[in-house]
């Protein structure tokens, strides 16, 4: 269970400023029902660009509702110029902190505010820039770079906590790591290819793998295997015991013996049975 601060609980149970201002000067909507949280923020300003009324509607968990409520309280009485400076950390701090898995709730508040201010200023809502990295939550590389810089993040997990990217299928984790390496200036770890094995090393490794990984399994079923010769990538073996008469011996050789040898020795190996 999450540990929410008393202030988060208080704002969740008694949210301030719930609703919509019908003739609002600024409207900002972020998130969607499929993402699991969404926020619609509306505000009204006076002639001095001071926010006189602000309301929200939120779909989401307790911290999403509390973050929205807190944001509206922070905005009241501020000028647009002052409001612009509010960051997600300010929202989280106002609430006495948020569990790190819930930081995206405060980010959602900041994003809704930005959109609402852009709307007020009559700026066209810019289409998302950059290429989509996280397909599940529609997060672009530009947004990830921004989150990395602004919140000084250094792990894929943190990126997920803040802006959700990588929280779905996980296919984009490598790409996010690349972006982290780029932004933090770390050189990606280069995997050097192992030097080519000598024939002796290769044969020894095949023997070891047979002893350790393969023979014990075959022996349980009363079978055994013997290494006859190795020619290049061709491994010649002889089957003994119950394996030699087993109708599934071919499957054993290809699906088990060959797979194991490819896994532990060389991916190009081909296993052949000799009589």
């Amino acid at each position: 269970m999450w540990e929410y601060s008393d202030k988060v609980k208080e704002h969740f149970l008694n949210p301030r400023n719930v609703g919509i201002i019908e003739d609002a000067d600024g409207v900002g909507e972020v998130g969607s029902i499929s993402c699991g949280d969404a926020l619609k923020l509306t505000f009204k300003v006076d002639e001095n660009e001071r926010i006189v009324d602000v309301k929200f509607q939120t779909f989401g968990c307790a911290s999403a509702i509390a973050s929205s409520s807190a944001l509206t309280e922070m905005l009241k009485g501020k000028t647009i110029e002052e409001a612009e400076k509010i960051t997600n950390d300010d929202i989280a701090n106002y609430l006495g902190g948020l569990p790190k898995e819930k930081m995206h709730c405060s980010v959602m508040g900041q994003e809704a505010l930005e959109k609402a201010i852009a709307c007020y200023r009559g700026k066209p809502l810019v289409e998302k820039e950059g290429e989509i990295v996280c397909e599940c939550f529609g997060v672009t590389d530009v947004e990830i770079r921004r989150a990395l810089t602004e919140h000084r993040l250094s792990a894929v997990e943190d990126v997920t906590h803040y802006i959700k990217a990588g929280g779905g299928c996980g296919n984009c984790h490598d790409r996010i790591q690349e972006l982290i390496n780029e932004v933090t200036g770390q050189a990606p770890s280069v995997r050097t290819l192992p030097p080519k094995m000598t024939n002796i090393q290769k044969i020894r490794l095949i023997e070891e793998t047979l002893e350790r990984e393969i023979k014990p399994a075959l022996k349980q079923d009363g079978g055994d295997i013997e290494l006859v010769d190795v020619e290049g990538t061709r491994v010649q073996v002889k089957l003994h015991g119950s394996c030699s008469s087993c109708s599934a011996a071919h499957i054993t050789l290809k699906d088990f013996v060959e797979k194991k040898l490819r896994e532990f020795v060389l991916p190009e190996l081909v296993v052949e049975e000799v009589q």
Partner: protein, 390 residues
């Protein structure tokens, strides 16, 4: 003090007073190691025998077919590892897309470590695609592992029928029956089930004890390698007090099974009908015909589950949710997603799971208190107004 209405019995259960009473002497006075050679140890060994017999009885098994473990997850792991280690040539496993993480995550691990795993899909009611299952069953299949009843929805699979089919084709069948034991009458000896997992704390015994049924003649290699305990099938000094508790809990469950399927079922139905009658845009997830008597999983559209749970917690109601926010991930329940429950509903799902300790007053309290919570959260939701507007 605020009263607590505990409706999360699929997560864990209260230890029954009779169970606590039965186990205490083995923590206080009879602390001997059952393997030792004196009176106090013999007393512990006799208590184990009695617990084993009680456990066997509720399952329809023989005492020597029961292996005590530390939990349901251990039982599941022990069963699947035993099946694949005993048949090392076979490299294929069949399971479903809606298993508990004890089976699901192990199978996913195995799928990255040399095994081919078939995850059988389910339909919108959470029922298995049996043709898909049988089409994928082959000579290479080391084990078929399917849950008896789903922890989230309560949907029951026809495991006895599937076990028979798997058996006829020479396969090994394991079932995770953690949610089903004590709620569904069982006679495993007469079925094709080779191994069956169960857990103590879902059955009014304490946490930290479980059991695995292993049919006589099933090839088995221990998961926990060590001493000769449990007939060489599970090393480690027996958790005597908790095993005694599990035995007592099994006996109680046997006596209460009829009540579970009449009074508790009626309470569950009352809760479900009451909520659906009072809350619009609420739907029950899963097959209501083939379902545990104590479970209902209801989706409240356009709001999010964690918010519902925390508001219920304020008034003493305990339940759980398949929403993303409560799972610690960003994706809602894999069970509901596998059933094709739309996101709009999956995020707002709440599971209520009852026990014999629940009363009609408690259920009526929930029926009275829940609808205003749902209405309040919907008033806050940006999606609710658009639905209202049509």
């Amino acid at each position: 003090m605020m009263k607590t209405v505990y409706l999360d019995n699929n997560a864990t259960t209260a230890v029954a007073p009779e169970v606590l009473e039965a186990m205490l002497p083995y923590l206080k006075d009879h602390y001997g190691n059952p393997s030792s050679m004196y009176g106090m140890a013999r007393r512990a060994a006799t208590a184990l025998d009695q617990a084993r017999a009680r456990m066997a009885q509720i399952l329809g098994a023989s005492p020597e077919e029961i292996v005590f473990t530390s939990c349901g997850t251990e039982s599941d792991n022990a069963a699947i590892w035993a099946a694949i280690r005993s048949n090392p040539i076979k490299r294929h496993i069949i399971t479903s897309r809606v298993e508990h993480s004890a089976v699901k995550n192990l199978c996913e691990y195995l799928s990255h470590n040399g095994y081919q795993v078939t995850f059988v899909p389910v339909d919108d009611k959470g029922q298995l695609d049996l043709d898909y299952l049988y089409d994928h069953l082959s000579e290479d299949t080391a084990v078929v592992s399917l849950m008896w009843a789903n922890n989230e929805t309560g949907v029951m699979f026809p495991v006895e029928e599937i076990a028979r089919e798997v058996k006829d084709r020479g396969g090994v069948f394991h079932t995770d029956a953690v949610q089903a034991v004590g709620k569904v009458p069982m006679d495993v000896g007469r079925t094709g089930i080779d191994m069956l997992s169960l857990s103590g704390h879902k059955l009014h015994a304490p946490k930290g004890v479980g059991a695995l049924y292993v049919r006589k003649g099933t090839k088995f290699t221990p998961f926990l390698v060590g001493g000769h305990q449990e007939q060489n099938r599970r090393g480690g000094t027996e958790n005597v007090a908790s095993i005694v508790a599990l035995g007592k809990a099994a006996e109680l469950a046997g006596n209460l099974m009829a009540e579970e399927n009449t009074r508790v079922k009626a309470l569950r139905d009352r809760l479900e009908t009451g909520i659906l009658g009072a809350v619009p845009h609420a739907v029950v997830n899963g097959d209501t015909d083939q379902r545990l008597p104590n479970t209902t999983n209801i989706s409240f559209e356009f709001i999010e589950g964690e918010s519902i749970l925390l508001m219920m917690d304020e008034i003493g109601i305990c339940a759980s949710s398949g929403s993303a926010c409560t799972s610690g991930s960003l994706e809602p329940s894999h069970v509901l997603r596998a059933m094709g429950v739309p996101y709009t509903a999956a995020h707002g799902s709440v599971r209520f799971s009852l026990s014999v300790y629940n009363t009609r007053q408690e259920i009526d309290y929930v029926i009275e208190k829940l609808p205003p919570i749902i209405a309040r959260l919907r008033q806050m939701s940006p999606f609710w107004k658009s639905v209202q507007a049509g």
